[in-house]
Symmetry: C2
Subunit: 219 residues, 2 copies
């Protein structure tokens, strides 16, 4: 690990890596992209070499300033603290709290409950592969029901008013997953509107799965 | 909601409420405890009245400074920002990142995957109530395997060196759950040691489930 090199261990379709890619784009931090394929070779995140970098055997991991940091939401906070230019959080403490409340709804109550590993367990426990999509829809719908109410109250162009926040960084990947699992988005006009706006912003476009070096042709 | 009254909506055995109770004790913030029984009446968190306060229909919720904030980890950050006395995070940005990495392992990768709601789904999907404890053990073991490695490297008396951090606030409830599900703690000497130390600290003792006004006799 070099003191000065910034390296992101990422997978093009990983929701959690996606959040960090948006942050790095906003902060204008140049980095080396190291692809960790979550499926190939039984999951490259499970190798002994990688698990020394990230003992949860998960992505993303960021090497920066001579440090190694895992867990996407911890990385976002670190980047905001150490690179305050181009802020990714609103000014007021209450507005920041609401942004983190939304971020944690996605980051604790939705995404981890419907990721690859958990859906694998669901398939195993139910003995029915078809149940995986049903489980994912249940989880996403439950989370979006709460998130939509918060957006109804607090959103402007972005999730919290008219400036970008951590909540926005987490939103596009979650809507992308909702679409993959055919979640009916009709009850979520605010989520849909904010997400559509985000996807017009260069930093968000740069972070899209299809714009990563390890992107694969979509099936 | 009064501008000046602090109210915590909590349940004595809720892991996420527990974290916030420790923080409020450290910050010496007096508050009114409003019990939300997660099982009684089909779950008091699901009432229309409560869901207006917390649209995720989850606890904790904190009313403070005239605001309403949900999601425990967002509440911790708000308390630390607005009440910097008796700090709950270390000084260095890297140390804070590691504390948040540990906090997110518990708060995203363990707790939400083995809470009451998800175990209900597991019972439903597997058609076997006995599978719930097995699922919980799988989840906790997976998370503790990663967390132990981080503690091996970074812990002192506390999770990160010798001062308290958000990571510590999340630990006791997760170890308590591990014990409830009979997780073998032998592979986790650092988790066990730090947790035992935490449970000697007055602020952590005050936050214990059995010391809450809605505590029930243990079976």
């Amino acid at each position: 690990m070099s003191e000065n090199k910034t390296v992101l261990y990422s997978y093009w379709r990983s929701s959690c890596s996606w959040r960090v890619r948006v942050a790095l784009a906003y902060k204008k931090i140049k980095y080396e992209y190291k692809a960790i394929h979550l499926l190939k070779d039984g999951g490259q995140q499970k190798t002994e070499e990688y698990s020394k970098i990230n003992p949860m055997k998960a992505i993303p991991t960021l090497e920066i300033d001579g440090h190694i940091i895992g867990q996407s939401l911890a990385i976002l906070e670190y980047l905001e603290e150490t690179h305050p230019e181009n802020p990714l959080m609103p000014n007021g403490a209450y507005e920041r709290a609401i942004a983190r409340q939304m971020m944690q709804i996605i980051g604790s109550d939705i995404q981890p409950l419907q990721n690859l590993k958990i859906l694998g367990l669901v398939g195993q426990y139910s003995g029915d592969e078809a149940k995986k999509a049903e489980w994912a829809r249940t989880i996403i719908t439950n989370g979006f029901n709460g998130l939509e109410k918060l957006l109804e109250k607090h959103s402007g162009k972005f999730c919290v008013g008219d400036s970008v926040s951590f909540a926005d960084l987490c939103l596009p990947a979650q809507v992308y997953n909702a679409n993959r699992f055919n979640v009916d988005m009709t009850p979520y006009p605010n989520i849909t509107r904010v997400n559509q706006y985000l996807l017009t912003i260069p930093e968000f476009i740069e972070a899209l799965p299809q714009n990563q070096p390890d992107a694969e042709p979509q099936c």
